[in-house]
């Protein structure tokens, strides 16, 4: 960064490069931090440094954690017979928030995308296929988004898994909880009708 910027301008510039923050928000945050130097700014700086040093990708599943393998992969309470495949760590967090899945995860690190030049070699698909050879494994849940890229990735993975031995499932697509039909888009209603279940 150029020296013509003082530390305050540099701080504002760096803060404004964070997602969701513009110059105005960055200036407010900078002023707020400077007004609470000892109680917020210094602890935050220390925490950022520690996180940058300690947090790594889990070598098994690709989750972000201070431990490697991560807490989920190490936990004895987890059901190792099922793996839930997600695109990003944020998707893993979303499923963990529900507390409805007790198996393990595999984070791909993105989705196959011809447009962006992301091929199978750019994702953690090889690692997943190696994990799928484990004899204890019974089910792989493909929790990928209901988009063309998401479903293309799911099809690619399904093609490369031994479906005679493994149960390969996907998340249902349809009406969200609390959703009213009148407000849903045509695509969601069509998919919901296709995957309707017996009441």
């Amino acid at each position: 960064m150029s020296n013509r910027y003082g530390p305050l301008e540099q701080m504002i510039k760096m803060l404004s490069s964070l997602p969701g923050l513009g110059q105005r928000s960055a200036r407010r945050i900078a002023l707020h931090l400077l007004s609470k130097r000892s109680s917020l700014m210094v602890p935050l700086a220390n925490m950022l440094l520690q996180a940058a040093h300690d947090i790594t990708e889990c070598e098994i599943c690709g989750n972000l954690d201070a431990h490697n393998p991560c807490n989920i992969c190490q936990s004895a309470k987890r059901d190792t017979s099922s793996i839930c495949v997600v695109a990003q760590v944020s998707d893993l967090w979303a499923i963990e928030r529900t507390q409805s899945f007790r198996g393990t995860y595999h984070v791909l690190g993105g989705l196959l995308s011809a447009l962006d030049g992301i091929g199978p070699q750019d994702l953690r698909i090889e690692g997943l296929l190696r994990r799928a050879e484990d004899e204890n494994l019974q089910e792989i849940i493909l929790a990928l988004s209901a988009t063309v890229d998401g479903q293309s990735t799911a099809h690619y993975i399904s093609d490369h898994l031994d479906q005679n031995r493994l149960k390969v499932t996907r998340l249902a697509h349809g009406v969200p909880v609390g959703g009213e039909l009148d407000y849903l888009d045509d695509g969601t209603i069509t998919t919901a009708l296709k995957s309707r279940s017996v009441n």
Binding site: P19, G20, A114, L115, D116, G119, A146, T147, V148, Q151, S152, H155, S158, D159, H173, D185, D186, G187, T190, T191, K194
Partner: protein
Amino acid sequence: MFRQNDHNHTMEQWQDQGIILSSRKHGESGAIVSLLTRTRGRYVGYVRGAQGTKMRGVLEIGNSVDVAWQSRVAENMGTYALELSANAGVHLLHDPLRLSALQAVCALCDAAMPEREAHEGLFDGTLALFEAMKNEDIWAAAYVMWEIAFLRELGFSLDLSKCAAGSGDDDLIYVSPKTGRAVSRSAGAPYKEKLLSLPAFLTPRGGDIDDIAIDQALQLTGFFFEHWAFTHHSRGIPDVRLRFAERFAKTIKPADIADSKDLKRA
């Protein structure tokens, strides 16, 4: 296109129908979107708020949209306001083969179509193909027909109606890789190693449409994509088109191939 005075500025504007070919994230919330429009051909524009929950579903490839474009200067990229009119992908998400075909259609148009050059026939043909792709029995043949029409729109017409060597429209089983014209069995016999196979359903007399014939047709159009349409493209044929052809070839059972060879010998 018409001009509208807006707060002392003259804006270029138009409205049309379009098909989403690609969408690339731009900045935190926007996207650069490429559309195949009915009356203006391939057109690229910026969409504000493209990464929000409302717009993400609209910008899936293959979707049909109502488009309103505006820009201060006609030569600029301009901005789009899009409204979804039909979702092509939703019917195909469960089927890997048809989903690959949809991706191939959009990638081929996005990579090969010149910008801002009207191809109304291609637009209508693509919408008709998306409609046909809902039908399990005819979609693959419709896809092949679309590729042949797409080559024609690009200026690379295949002539499969009669023999290039002058022996009429009987027993056409080859295509010349140099001219893209059909060749009959008798006329092509001395050069058969160099000629491409022509599936019977593409000839004027017609024939069975099975997986082997579709695979042959995909190899045929793939050859002309490689040697004609994409020969000067630095990236070559889009990967999704190659993957679609590979995926289709894998669906053919060895028994079908053996039957086909027996038929050819006969």
